[in-house]
Symmetry: C2
Subunit: 406 residues, 2 copies
């Protein structure tokens, strides 16, 4: 938060002086080699050991022992009862939506501010993304804005809630815990209950984050995680569906492994299904990484503290702080420019890249992408505002060690 003293003294020069920003970030990153990427994994002896053991076992494909172990480790880390390892986060969300009953022609509500994979997974399920606004309270979907929007557009027809502007069924809502910061799930739960929406949590960015002491990924009926190369834990590419519902987990496993019926030799399959399971070799890498999850969350939180401190006296920009009541994994640290300086964002990004700092803006909001331009949406003033003035800063856990001691 910008301190009141700083606010009182601010002068709003026409062009920002970029030097102090670069200086503050340099102070945080310390001795880290340039260029500094946005988020990079690091692997230790343990990852090497487990991957070699997997190769030596000649079992590198799906359904190996590391898949089971990785699922158990991720379930334990989130607090979910069951976990089903999937080939990546997009595939996990696609499968999760279908498994929750999303059908061709349904609408699925999601924030306009998210990585494109969230909207793509909705499309892959044959459904139509319906974009809603975000809140500065969490950077994620705004439950109050969602409710106000549904109050205006939803209507009950033949026992289902439909969008009265399109006539399509409103089936699910996908909250995304942006950059690891948990959405207000209690408030969202109330709106979802009112409009009978299934909640599928997109926890792809928030492994290790908690809200009221409860792990992200345990608030909806099911949730998805990602272990892409840029995530806090990586398997190269990988994802997970987590749920407390045993029958649901069993179906998820079946549906993502060609729906083959168990038999010593016969190849019978009982539904149109997917080849979406995670290979054993990727799971082996993930098992090694999961052993260090608590240390990585800790390192990322220390790095966030350094950024927060470095920018605490800036009058025209601040580092985004985790929502009240939550512990964020601070997947990506976010610099928020004051609204008056939104037009300076790209000049700052260019300067950062020129300085060897691979910062990036927020994703372009979904409703501004050509293929999602005509999708239904609410008013999106916060999403558009957020997009113009947020910048993600390098956030790899190991940077906490290279950082100068403050």
């Amino acid at each position: 938060m910008v301190s009141s003293t700083a606010q009182a003294n601010r002068k709003y020069p026409d062009m920002l002086d970029l030097k102090p920003v670069l200086g503050a970030i340099d102070a945080v990153l310390g001795s880290a080699a340039r260029p500094v990427e946005l988020h990079e994994p690091r692997f230790g002896q343990r990852e090497r050991e487990l991957v070699l053991d997997c190769i030596d076992s000649n079992w590198v494909s799906s359904a190996g022992k590391y898949v089971t172990r990785f699922e158990e480790m991720v379930a334990a880390a989130t607090g979910a009862r069951h976990a089903v390892a999937i080939v990546n986060g997009t595939a996990a969300l696609h499968a999760a939506l279908v498994l929750e009953g999303v059908e061709q022609g349904d609408e699925v509500l999601l924030p306009a501010i998210t990585f494109v994979a969230t909207a793509n997974a909705v499309s892959h399920a044959g459904a139509i993304p319906h974009f809603v606004d975000s809140t500065w309270d969490t950077l994620g979907l705004d439950p109050q804005a969602l409710e106000a929007h549904l109050d205006a557009v939803a209507e009950r027809r033949n026992g289902a809630w439909v969008n009265k502007q399109t006539g399509r069924r409103l089936r699910a809502v996908v909250p995304v815990h942006i950059f690891g910061h948990p959405v207000d799930m209690a408030a969202l739960g109330a709106v979802a209950a009112k409009y009978e929406l299934v909640i599928v949590e997109d926890a792809t960015e928030s492994l290790g984050s908690t809200l009221g002491g409860k792990g992200c990924g345990t608030f909806g009926h099911s949730a998805v995680l990602s272990f892409n190369g840029n995530k806090i834990v990586t398997t190269g590419g990988g994802g997970m569906i987590v749920t407390d519902d045993e029958a649901h987990a069993r179906h998820a496993r079946h549906f993502t492994s060609t729906a083959k019926r168990a038999h010593a030799w016969a190849f019978d399959h009982d539904e149109v299904a997917y080849n979406y399971r995670l290979p054993n070799i990727n799971a082996a890498l993930g098992c090694g990484q999961m052993e260090r999850l608590p240390a990585m969350v800790d390192a990322k939180r220390r790095l966030a503290e350094r950024y927060l401190l470095a920018f605490s006296d800036f009058p025209w920009a601040r580092i985004y702080r985790e929502p009240e009541g939550s512990q964020s994994n601070y997947w990506l640290n976010t610099l928020v420019l004051e609204r008056e300086y939104a037009a300076e964002r790209d000049r700052l990004l260019a300067a950062l890249h020129g300085h060897g700092i691979r910062a990036r803006p927020l994703w372009t909001p979904m409703h501004l992408l050509p293929m999602y331009r005509d999708c239904p949406r609410s008013q999106l003033p916060v999403a558009e505002d957020m997009h113009t003035r947020c910048i993600n800063l390098p956030s790899s856990p190991f940077l906490a060690e290279s950082a100068n001691k403050v």
Copy 2:
């Protein structure tokens, strides 16, 4: 082929004596440890080295140097100009169909005898599988039966060929080189040209097979390969789209990596797209495997020769031999029972499993699976016959070494 002497002498006992079959297979498998799986990979020092190098580079996710190298190796091995590494064979076929213009509600022709993934990929593209018959000449799709069927059901409407029974557009045909044996692509090409069908080759089982000296995967406009754990070359899970068309390859790359437009920092995407690229760590494993592809094809062909020899005097069963003019990778060796003994197939399978030999029947034909029961299809007498009397035998390349010298 069954010799004419044997045919003249055959007596058709009511129940087969299974002992000689087990004996013949035992003679081929020699000292291999029981149970003997249908197909298992083996990894050497090279695979270990490359995977560790990949881990040590901290670049395990998509778009790494091993992905590019793996693509180049696979392109060179098949003779295709371009190769795009995909997360698995099913995803590769799904993407390939969409990239070739298959749309929601189209029909795609494919053999009823194939692994379920072929039909699933058609469904994933929103199209309807349309099953056609196979031929004993290749075990694959029968171009003559296809032509006769299309002559009966296809009709030209508004400049497109449609199935006059359903009114749906006939868009593509997917020949599958079953167990590595090439389909008669010249004959198929003529039928496809007549009915303006795009050919997407399913070469998931036939890496290293050639037809008239040309690699499987280079006959259609594009083709797909698989590197699943049971394939001749494995990446854990993996697939590939190959094509000679540079613009097509470029689009395939874009479409399978979220359609992100190149930019130093901005996240803009220009079509609904997929996260389907192969992670670098899987590609590293594949690079190690590809170095040994010629040796593995050679070993598998030697193993096939042993099976052929071991069953050369059997009056009521034979080992399937590669089609004339082709060099098969003999992905899976196939024992074909004479028609009179089709009813004995499951008794033989049970005996083989009891004996530690993990044989299996052909996949259940697609039109007999519940989810594909109502799909359009031709008469399928050969497919149904084939299913009742083919058994796949253990075919891992290393078995060529453990086999008794004959």
